[in-house]
């Protein structure tokens, strides 16, 4: 579980996040949603320590991340996995070497065991056939799957995903969502996904935190989204005709 308490982040004189209080639960897919420029990515970068919060606390299962020294943070980060928006695979390494990288750096297992572990993770994301290819030789969806494999290879307790579906077609997005949801439940990870893909919200949103102009505006799950009266949330989630119609049908069915 990750608890965020009174988190504020400012860049010089501009405040981007205002007093955020939220909880990301273990074994659930936690989503951070919001419009572009609302502060989602800044919140995630604070959570993983790429930004230092101006004020507030971030507790990883009760451990205060912000007050940790460099060495403690480095140790803490070994419990985290991260899937970046652009996958961020290392260009000079093959897919297998990319997945093996965290093990090469931190594991004392022998080479054969490290390869076996990396191949197991690649098999979990259905990418074993591409293990010898370089990132530039595979599609965007495959790169995302390779990044997921790299993120889970060390059995992290916390998995962060920054817009994992951006630039992907709806079908591949669905595959990525199902994969992230499956991994979360299978390994009991605290997964936090930063997204503005409403298919993800309605599909895997077990705990949704809606950020609006730097403030936490609403929190709930995908079922509560349908019935929510929050106009700002509705403007974002039901921006498309399709989702508006879905909401109308759902509400009519509830009345009946």
């Amino acid at each position: 579980m990750i608890e965020v308490k009174n988190l504020t982040k400012s860049f010089e004189d501009k405040t981007v996040l205002f007093n955020i209080n939220t909880v990301f639960e273990t074994g659930k897919t936690n989503l951070i949603i919001g419009q572009s420029g609302s502060g989602k990515t800044v919140l995630m970068k604070n959570l993983i320590g790429l930004f230092e919060p101006t004020q507030g606390e971030i507790l990883y299962d009760g451990r205060d991340f912000i007050s940790m020294n460099k060495k403690e943070k480095a140790m803490m980060r070994r419990e985290m996995g991260m899937v970046f928006q652009g996958a961020a695979l290392f260009d000079s390494l093959t897919v297998l070497e990319n997945v093996m990288f965290p093990l090469d750096m931190f594991s004392n297992e022998n080479y054969r065991d490290r390869v076996k572990k990396a191949q197991d993770c690649l098999a979990r994301v259905n990418l074993l056939e591409a293990q010898d290819k370089y990132p530039s030789e595979i599609s965007g969806g495959m790169q995302k799957r390779a990044a997921i494999a790299r993120a889970i290879v060390q059995n992290p307790k916390y998995l962060f995903c920054d817009e994992p579906n951006s630039g992907l077609d709806p079908k591949t997005s669905l595959v990525i969502d199902e994969l992230l949801s499956g991994i979360t439940h299978e390994f009991g990870i605290t997964t936090i996904i930063n997204t503005h893909d409403m298919n993800s919200v309605m599909g895997i949103g077990e705990n949704i935190c809606f950020i609006y102009k730097g403030h936490k505006e609403w929190q709930g799950n995908k079922d509560q989204v349908i019935n929510s009266n929050n106009s700002k949330l509705n403007d974002l989630v039901f921006a498309s005709d399709l989702f508006r119609k879905v909401k109308e049908i759902e509400l009519e069915q509830d009345k009946k």
Binding site: M75, R78, M82, G86, A88, D91, F101, D104, M105, F106
Partner: protein
């Protein structure tokens, strides 16, 4: 304001070097990258070093013979000056200036691209000291390989001079040989190598700094690459003056 900016940049450079020159997280991975960097930065530069040194050696010999050699000068003067120029300045300083263009832009653009595509962030998130993992092997790799490049350069320069003697018949091989052997001081070889070690550090560290600290996109990566070459070239020229005075 400009001084404040320079001091700020210099401070950031020192902090980055502090992080870079720390003990590697995993020695096995460091050695792998160290060998790879020696190949990429040094071995891959041998071709251009050989080509330039050969022709410069030949040209210097021709220029010395035509412009300095006269009936009142000793017969060995063209060979002697060719050797001194190659050994004292060209193979150490000028060759490093040329390499700062090739190697410096390579380092800055590689690290800059890694920064803008979040590969460096990915390393940091994993708990890896990204500065040490990426920069230390480059610095040590270039420092290790640079003395060999200097020796290659000097040797090829002398071979180039002999080419003018045997192929161009500009100077007799005997005169060239006596000039090359005249008043030879072994310290000059060491001086050349010591200078090149400093220059290798400047090229690798300054270029890494510009690449590692890129913010933005592809335009900024290109700008960082140019800045890295300009800054390391200027620093090589400045330090050349001090090192030459110090070591002579």
């Amino acid at each position: 304001m400009l001084i404040y900016k320079w001091l700020n940049t210099f401070g950031s450079y020192l902090i980055l070097m502090g992080r870079s020159l720390s003990r590697p997280d995993r020695m096995r991975m460091f050695l792998k990258r160290y060998a790879k960097e020696m190949e990429q930065l040094g071995v891959d530069s041998i071709g251009i070093v050989m080509l330039i040194s050969f022709f410069i050696g030949a040209v210097i010999c021709i220029q010395m013979k035509i412009n300095i050699q006269s009936p009142w000068m000793p017969h060995w003067v063209a060979g002697y000056t060719t050797r001194e120029i190659m050994l004292l300045e060209f193979s150490s300083s000028i060759m490093c200036l040329i390499l700062s263009g090739k190697v410096g832009s390579n380092i800055a653009s590689e690290l800059g691209t890694m920064r803008v595509t979040q590969q460096i962030d990915a390393l940091d998130i994993m708990g890896v000291n990204s500065a040490s993992y990426l920069i230390l092997p480059k610095i040590l790799g270039l420092i290790t390989i640079m003395p060999f490049l200097v020796i290659f350069s000097s040797t090829l320069g002398i071979i180039g001079a002999y080419a003018t003697a045997y192929i161009g018949h500009i100077i007799s091989p005997e005169d060239l040989t006596s000039g090359i052997q005249h008043a030879f001081n072994v310290w000059f070889i060491w001086m050349s190598i010591i200078k090149s070690l400093f220059f290798a550090f400047i090229i690798a560290s300054v270029s890494s700094f510009f690449g590692y600290t890129v913010e933005g996109g592809s335009v900024e990566v290109g700008k960082a690459s140019t800045d890295a070459v300009v800054c390391s070239s200027v620093l090589i020229l400045f330090s050349d003056v001090f090192l030459t005075q110090l070591l002579s």
